[in-house]
Symmetry: C2
Subunit: 474 residues, 2 copies
């Protein structure tokens, strides 16, 4: 008999699961893996959520593999979970009801590059670094950079973004069309290579950010950009978070097309100084990047310098030399490791979480968050994609210290409530997964959840696609 | 008994319709209108489709009005059709099954402007000109310009765009969140004011472009931009459409952030010369607009001039003076009227249609379309939002001439097939409405249509919202 774990997650019947795994073994031979170690690797999650491994993993090599896995699982009502690189942060690849994980890493071909149209067609397992490597000779790049070398299928499914989003948008703005394997194994085509279309419901955007709960993405058509002639990096320290945010607001309002604008709060700068042997003033820091022609980036830098001065910014440094750019951005590149180094130890976990608010509220949101950390005696440097109002906390907690863990949970909860009370969202780019389901209702209301449940049921009536994610149990 | 018009359009039972209209009359008094003239005004359509008026029109003044209309209609299974300004082009406001039209023109308040966040909250009946008038003093504007002074609710529902889309995106990229009245009269909130979010399914984009078939938009949060410091206009004639398209491709590839880039084919230039007393060379013409600082627009213009010269462009003229800009763009502004003037007469109709292809195929698509017009002995100047690969034909036909009408239909049909065969779409910005339903299956396949039908049924199980639009009968 199937075991209901919660009202929206049901373990398959053991006999049905066995039938499915037998059928998959017959079809895939040693590309079906059931070893404990491999199953656990595929349920990696960097949250406080427990690891919930699938019952088996299939290494897919082509679209037909995905179709067959889905058909076999569907016939037996066994869950199917898509896996790219496992770098999602909210338990998206966990298998709370078990089932079959489809590992898409071998589906890593760039199928077509259309340089004149600035688009390309790829398989879902292509990672962003591999893609940019492939494109470089043609003077093209894909701008979305979520930090990890994630797969494009995964980035699409979590609606990822990162440091470049302020200029180039998120996955939402950069996916043109998808092919998606649906429950009966047939393939839905969501769009064409036309840059814009008014042809019917926007199926593309329904699958972007759906975290694999509505079908499995088997092919993507995405937008590309020309590599800019000149890239300038800049840095400027501010006395206060408010000053840094005000400079960002003015830069965007006056139309400076910043490509990146990252805030490191004082705690993060301190951590970077220590880890990367820098001597930055230990106050809020803005790191910027400008893309364009030589004349353009020079003007953008100059204009931003004037704005920064108005907003209490200190020395403004900018450069177009690659090695100096790298140095200037060193602190940002090492941010994660600098946080880890703050508190070494096997039992110390770094939990990354993100929220996003209207930019006018960002200074308040960050400052109140800093106050809360002090009050709760917790350590969490803050890094923000400040042009979008999006910031990350990297909370350090000793998982063996119950009291600290409780305070950590309280902090995370209050962070989300704070962002939502400022007309923001519980996640700007990490997704809902398992970790943030409890916040959706407060953010959008019960009617939006009804709609999401109706959509899930409409496209996945058997609830086999990544069950237990995004939409909370009714 | 209810009358089934086609498998997805059913006229309400006469008794149920009467009950609904009586209830609406009791609730709305003289804001419920059933006169023939007003009903016909609300089913205006500039296609060859017949006008299909609703049974009644309610003039809504606030969200509660929409909710009550929907509740009354839902209880009686009577269709509800939203109406903004009636400028849609594919029969979107027609009422093939009768029902009640909700006229939203009086819901025209700008509710909040958040200058620092570059967003605002508005009612659906606000028109784009009224909005820009409202915003001007704050140095802000809303960039989407579909030509007509359409309502923002309508523009959202057709996923409209226009001349500025190449730089600023379409409605798809510029709607942050919506409030939508669903079938039971309750309101779905689709998002927050955060600029980006990964919080669950993208409900916002499901309603953008849904043509009122999934619910009625009662409030919109949209993105704004700062009015650029300097605007430059430019014009350049080309020997061939291919040359003009190649210049466009290079401009976009090299990252010139053109704000507008419009192609007028030779027939359109000829029409403009005649109507606006201009003396432009009667060859393909590109009209451009650059937005930015003085330095930026000067550099952009210069860079484009070099590209144009490489691609066989003739004299390149550019200016930042408002009166000269207007003169340079005169031909584009008068395009519609110049077409009308080509062939006066009561029985002559102008049917506007649009397709969109990858930009690398645009020259082929336009040239083959011109050849087809010659072959069919038809007159249709062409204007293109060429940076997006989107172009319009304004076909002149004598509605009393059966043979000409048949050739016109053949032309339109072949135009769509041509665009689709080039990996394009049957509509870049006009929408599907009634006119283009027959092309959806060829474009996206039966699986996409299944998905669209499932979504429609999930969110509108009674099929009361604008029935008979977008999704063709199964």
């Amino acid at each position: 008999m199937a075991t209901t774990i919660s009202s929206n997650v049901t373990r398959p019947e053991p006999q049905a699961l066995k039938r499915a795994i037998d059928a998959l073994a017959a079809r895939f031979g040693n590309r079906l893996v059931t070893s404990q170690a491999v199953r656990e690797q595929h349920a990696h999650t960097t949250t406080w959520l427990p690891t919930q491994p699938p019952d088996a993993v299939v290494m897919a090599q082509e679209t037909a593999d995905i179709q067959d896995v889905v058909r076999i699982c569907s016939a037996n009502r066994v869950p199917v979970i898509a896996f790219g690189t496992g770098t999602s942060l909210e338990g998206q690849v966990n298998a709370p009801a078990g089932g079959v994980c489809i590992d898409l890493r071998d589906m890593n071909k760039v199928l077509e590059v259309h340089a004149e149209d600035l688009d390309c067609v790829i398989q879902p397992g292509v990672t962003r670094k591999a893609l940019n490597e492939h494109l470089r000779d043609q003077g093209l790049f894909f701008p979305i950079d979520p930090g990890a070398d994630a797969s494009l299928g995964g980035m699409t499914s979590t609606r990822a973004s990162g440091t470049n989003a302020v200029r180039y948008g998120t996955m939402r703005e950069n996916v043109l069309a998808l092919k998606v394997v649906r429950g009966d194994g047939e393939i839905i085509t969501t769009g064409t290579r036309a840059k814009k279309s008014s042809a019917g419901y926007d199926l593309t955007h329904l699958f972007v950010g759906a975290e694999g709960t509505l079908g499995i993405i088997s092919e993507l058509t995405i937008r590309l950009r020309g590599i800019p002639d000149t890239i300038a990096a800049a840095a400027c320290s501010f006395e206060t978070v408010a000053g840094a945010c005000q400079a960002t607001i003015l830069a965007i309002q006056t139309g400076i097309p910043v490509a990146r604008i990252e805030l490191l709060n004082a705690a993060q700068v301190k951590a970077c100084n220590s880890y990367s042997k820098l001597s930055l003033p230990e106050t809020p820091l803005l790191l910027l990047e400008f893309h364009g022609s030589e004349v353009e980036v020079a003007e953008q830098s100059k204009n931003f310098r004037d704005i920064a001065a108005e907003c209490g910014g200190g020395d403004f440094t900018w450069t177009t030399k690659p090695e100096d750019r790298t140095k200037l951005w060193q602190a940002r590149h090492d941010a994660y490791w600098s946080v880890k180094a703050l508190r070494p130890g096997d039992s110390i976990g770094v939990v990354a979480t993100d929220v996003c608010v209207p930019i006018s509220r960002l200074a308040d949101c960050v400052t109140e968050t800093e106050d809360d950390l002090k009050r709760l005696n917790l350590l969490s440097p803050i890094v923000g994609h400040v042009g979008d109002g999006n910031f990350h906390c990297s909370l350090l907690c000793d998982v063996n210290n119950k009291d600290e863990m409780a305070r950590g949970e309280e902090f995370m909860h209050r962070l989300v409530e704070r962002a939502q009370s400022m007309d923001g969202t519980c996640t700007g780019e990490h997704g809902i997964g398992q970790g943030k389901q409890k916040y959706l209702k407060a953010e959008l209301g019960p009617e939006a959840l009804d709609a999401m449940r109706a959509l899930k049921h409409a496209l996945d009536p058997q609830n086999i696609f990544n069950p237990g994610k995004i939409v909370p149990a009714a």
